[in-house]
């Protein structure tokens, strides 16, 4: 039913928020990782978001034009296009006893800032709640609409 597709917009936000939370958890758990398969220490990961409504395929454009007489059905919410790596330089720490220390005794540590990740985590939690609030508002609006005339 078409009037229920409004819930999917908030649903896409919830899915994106959960994925971002996973990425933040990985950043935190690898905050001290000095070895990866690619070599070198762990690089902080970032989620890329994209607004999902500008899908340029012919079919979606045609459907959008046909449906444009009714409610705008091209709103799809958000989608994650990829997870990229933070290119900021690694932190260097002087620790000659570490097996990963170089000739000068410095160890390259991941470019993960725990304080930053904590703040990001709080932001994601709040954003998830905001999406849930929007979803519940849409749902209660539909329930209220069914009470018209009672």
């Amino acid at each position: 039913m078409a009037f229920l597709s409004s819930l999917d917009i908030s649903g896409s936000g919830l899915t994106a928020g959960r994925l971002r939370m996973d990425v933040i958890s990985e950043n935190i758990s690898n905050a001290e990782t000095t070895r990866t398969d690619a070599g070198g220490p762990y690089r902080r990961k970032i989620v890329e978001y994209k607004c999902a409504d500008d899908d340029a395929s012919f079919r979606s454009l045609l459907d959008g034009q046909i449906a444009s007489s009714s409610a705008p059905s091209t709103l799809k919410g958000v989608e994650v296009t990829g997870i990229t790596e933070d290119r900021t330089p690694f932190n260097e720490e002087y620790d000659p006893s570490s097996p990963d220390a170089n000739a000068q005794g410095y160890v390259q540590k991941p470019n993960v800032d725990l304080v930053k990740e904590t703040v990001d985590m709080m932001a994601v939690t709040r954003a998830y709640s905001a999406n849930l609030t929007a979803l519940n508002a849409v749902k209660s609006m539909a329930s209220k609409a069914l009470e018209i005339g009672k």
């Binding site: 039913m1 229920l4 819930l7 649903g11 919830l14 899915t15 329930s143 069914l146």
Partner: protein, 104 residues
């Protein structure tokens, strides 16, 4: 100078005329009554949301999906569509009773 506006036919009555035509065409006409298709669409919408909910629960319990909220959204959708069809049915029954109680 004012021009006299011709009397416009009333839209809703025109629709009634069309309805009469489709009825006059007989039961073998392939044109479905709007009422019939309305009810059928509503019920098939409920079936669709129910099937979506079943699919989400299946995916979640078998571990193919780890999005809890998609299942909850599907369940809300199923509940809303059922209450919409129940509301539609109540309205239809009310209208039917109203007509049947007409005293002649």
């Amino acid at each position: 100078m004012n021009t006299i506006q011709p009397i416009q036919p009333i839209g809703s009555l025109e629709e009634l005329g069309k309805l009469k035509q489709t009825q006059a065409a007989g039961p073998d006409s392939s044109v479905a009554l709007p009422f019939q298709s309305l009810v059928r669409d509503a019920v098939s919408g409920v079936q669709q949301t129910g099937a979506d909910l079943d699919g989400e629960i299946y995916k979640l319990t078998t571990g193919q999906s780890d999005d809890l909220h998609n299942m909850m959204i599907a369940s809300q959708k199923a509940g809303l569509s059922v209450s919409m069809v129940v509301e539609l049915r109540n309205k239809l029954l009310d209208a039917y009773k109203e007509i049947m109680n007409t005293s002649l």
